[in-house]
């Protein structure tokens, strides 16, 4: 599942938290000294760090600063464990930097919920840099479309349109869905805007414009494969 780095010098806290995390299928790494956090974080690349404030070596606030300052660890979400004795402005300082915080003593269940929430928020959504469908190559990194290796010059509107269609090939995209994705509004009563852009796009695709199909009263779709022109018995 995910790898969690637990930082606390109280062994019973570490064991309790580890137990709960492992029960949920996470992998746990732990350290008990502030100075050891950054090297361990760099080495193990955890998905989240649970970081206690009171630490031997250097304290949790300092550790947090170092994690944020290092390009290798700055992206790792951090949940800080604070003691009730912390002053309010100190807690405010923590809140502004950490992804979440929890006051000791805490219920392990509460911590698990917090960890789950922070992990979900931080999950990276990825997509294919290049998507090939038949003779089409959509290069999302360079924001370009090629057909059989030949670059098709598209306006940004046309590019957004084909990108939206090719994101889910062979699936119908309603008019309102396309308008929303490309134009930011969903109602096109009495307007031919979408139709005009579809035509322009099809024109630029030449013969391959047939890959953009119309489903009357439903919307448009990008077809991975199209029927060959029938010469006989058409």
């Amino acid at each position: 599942m995910s790898r969690i780095l637990v930082v606390d010098d109280e062994k019973d806290i570490v064991e309790l938290v580890s137990l709960h995390l492992q029960r949920e299928g996470h992998e746990v790494v732990s350290v008990g000294n502030g100075l050891a956090v950054l090297p361990m974080a760099v080495k193990t690349a955890p998905d989240l760090i649970v970081l206690d404030i009171m630490l031997p070596g250097i304290d949790g606030v300092q550790v947090h600063r170092r994690l944020r300052a290092d390009t290798r660890t700055r992206h790792i979400p951090v949940i800080m464990l604070t003691a009730r004795a912390q002053t309010n402005d100190r807690i405010a300082g923590l809140e502004s930097g950490a992804d979440d915080y929890l006051t000791k003593p805490f219920s392990p269940r509460e911590l698990m919920l917090r960890i789950g929430a922070v992990l979900r928020r931080s999950q990276k959504v990825v997509m294919l840099a290049e998507q090939r469908i038949g003779e089409f190559l959509l290069d999302r990194k360079n924001m370009s479309l090629s057909i059989n290796g030949k670059l098709i010059e598209l306006t940004i509107t046309e590019l957004k349109l084909i990108t939206t269609l090719m994101a889910n090939p062979d699936v119908i995209h309603s008019r309102s869905e396309l308008l929303s994705a490309v134009w930011g509004y969903a109602d096109d009563t009495h307007s031919r805007t979408l139709d005009t852009h579809i035509k322009r796009l099809r024109d630029k695709l030449g013969d391959h414009g047939r890959h953009i199909g119309t489903l009357r009263r439903q919307g448009y779709l990008f077809q991975s494969t199209v029927q060959e022109l029938a010469d006989s018995d058409a």
Copy 2:
């Protein structure tokens, strides 16, 4: 590393191939019956399938057809194992569909090389759909940039420019690199095109335009963090 589905009813072949694959760090799943391939492929989502022609149940050619016809498995590369007794036109038919083929008896080393080559060819390049840097959110899926949740309206040229810069934050991008990535040429002798677009982009970013730094005689860079305006001792 990668997950490989090995399909062969000869147990010694399966064991031999599995041994070599596991030695290279791959995970191996195997089935010995043609009818079991598709369900297993759907279930385990392998990165590559090694598929023997001679199978009980349905033969390898049929299996291959089914894999290609199913949207859940059509993208999985297939290496087919053929027997020397196969006729030439049958082999030609296989070649046109499989990603690679190998004739029994084969050396395991040869198969490993083929597997490596096919895997390398099929690796999907992915990138973050959304990239957050400080207050900037680059949404590659929708081709948009937001700062603190506020959409910044950019032209396609400006978008390509900021995308290129943010792809490697805090790294210098030379003028020729930017020209090549955005304009498709690298020489800007006697032209202020790039500079003009950088200025336009900075203007649209307002205060946050400071994130785009100039390094004289080297190029430009996107800075994840910038110095706060110093009110004292500036």
